[in-house]
């Protein structure tokens, strides 16, 4: 089996790494590069826990091979907060609204929402539920998640408007 030398840019930081062809992107991020905020639930594209941004698009990291990310820019949940002592408005809203219980699904939900809200700055509740249809929360915490997403949307929209 051949190994492949690739370069990936994760949260702005460049990593050179040698990977086997069958290594999933989620496993590269977690096991090799230690971005363990990316969670692995079902490993066949159903639960959404491993959602990361690839060139700004929300993607399931268990349905892409690491070798395919060669030269691409990735964003994981570790890349959301602007600094170590400040949270992203989405994270802030999730904390304020108690939009997580065990937190396993949270990184995937945050990464899905950050991409969705960039494209839909003033979403309806129904649109948020549709956008999150590919993310499963097993603590059944959807109500506060949707409330937090709506709250974050108005904060983000206001921030954008002020600029």
């Amino acid at each position: 089996m051949t190994a492949h030398d690739i370069v990936v840019i994760v949260n702005g930081r460049q990593h050179r790494v040698r990977v086997m062809a069958r290594l999933l992107l989620a496993d590269l991020l977690r096991d090799e590069l230690r971005y363990t905020g990316t969670h692995v639930g079902c490993e066949h594209g159903v639960c959404g826990a491993c959602t990361v941004l690839v060139e700004g698009e929300p993607v399931r990291a268990c349905l892409m091979f690491a070798v395919q990310a060669d030269g691409l820019r990735l964003t994981t949940v570790e890349g959301l907060a602007p600094s170590a002592d400040r949270l992203h408005p989405l994270q802030e809203a999730f904390r304020a609204r108690h939009a997580l219980q065990c937190g396993f699904c949270t990184p995937g939900i945050l990464m899905t929402l950050v991409a969705f809200l960039a494209e839909h700055p003033q979403p309806t509740e129904a649109e948020i539920r549709e956008a999150l249809s590919g993310n499963l929360c097993r603590c059944t915490g959807y109500q506060p998640i949707v409330a937090a997403a709506l709250a974050a949307a108005s904060v983000l929209d206001e921030n954008t408007g002020r600029r």
């Binding site: 069958r22 490993e43 993607v59 268990c62 892409m64």
Partner: protein, 288 residues
Amino acid sequence: MKPAPFEYVCPRSLEEALDVLGRHGDEAKVLAGGQSLVPMLNMRLARPAVIIDINRVAGLDGIVESGRSLHVGALVRQRSLERVAVIRARAPLLAEAAPLIGHLQTRARGTVCGSVAHADPAAELPACLVALAAVYQVTGARGQRRVPAADFQGGLFTTVLEADEVLTAIEVPASPWPRVGTAFAEVARRHGDFALAGAAAVVAQDDEGTCRDVRLVFFAVGDTPHLAAATSVLLGARDDKSIDDVARVAAGELDPHSDLHASGAYRRRVAAALARQTLATAWARACR
């Protein structure tokens, strides 16, 4: 839940991809969006020796208006159907169906051509493309051929693609008629789930409002998309009064399967309702 080892090839040109595919044939699998293939690899339902990743092949990612048809290349993502203005203008049926395909994250990677080549009976796009009378461009080392969408799927997850061929583009022809309306609807248990039943309809009228062409396609209620025969009654019609009858007769052509989620009889009733709804909507949109 990790794939078995395979050799990974990432060609930069179609010629190179076809050459590798020609050499490995059945032992190789073409990887585009990977949203159906990678789960099968992860669960080891598929164990190809070689994966040919076409994501970096030049010239396959375009949506191009060419003459009277729209060309959708092999790397066009399903998300593009929602985003690209020319799709909304020239093939609104695809734009209407797109948000119902899987989820945001799978549409960002999943391709239009990949969905067609995978040939899942519950897939939205193959049905829409049969309704639009699309033509598939199939390319192999031995040359290129064009296959009408209605002839492409042979059965469950089965197409006319040979082991050394790739679906390289889809051509969506413009209707020759001046007034065209389309509509899409499906019933699924949750948003993004595989549909229990679905329908796509295209109604075309002449300048006087007389129906000249009508195509109603059901999906998720048989092994392949079903182009209804019963709609021929509507040809020459000047109003939509017979749509209820046509929808009922069309659904009678189906013999849907039963499973955990719905009985065959229920699926047929849903299909009839969806046929009525999509035909009526398409008719009204043609009249606008």
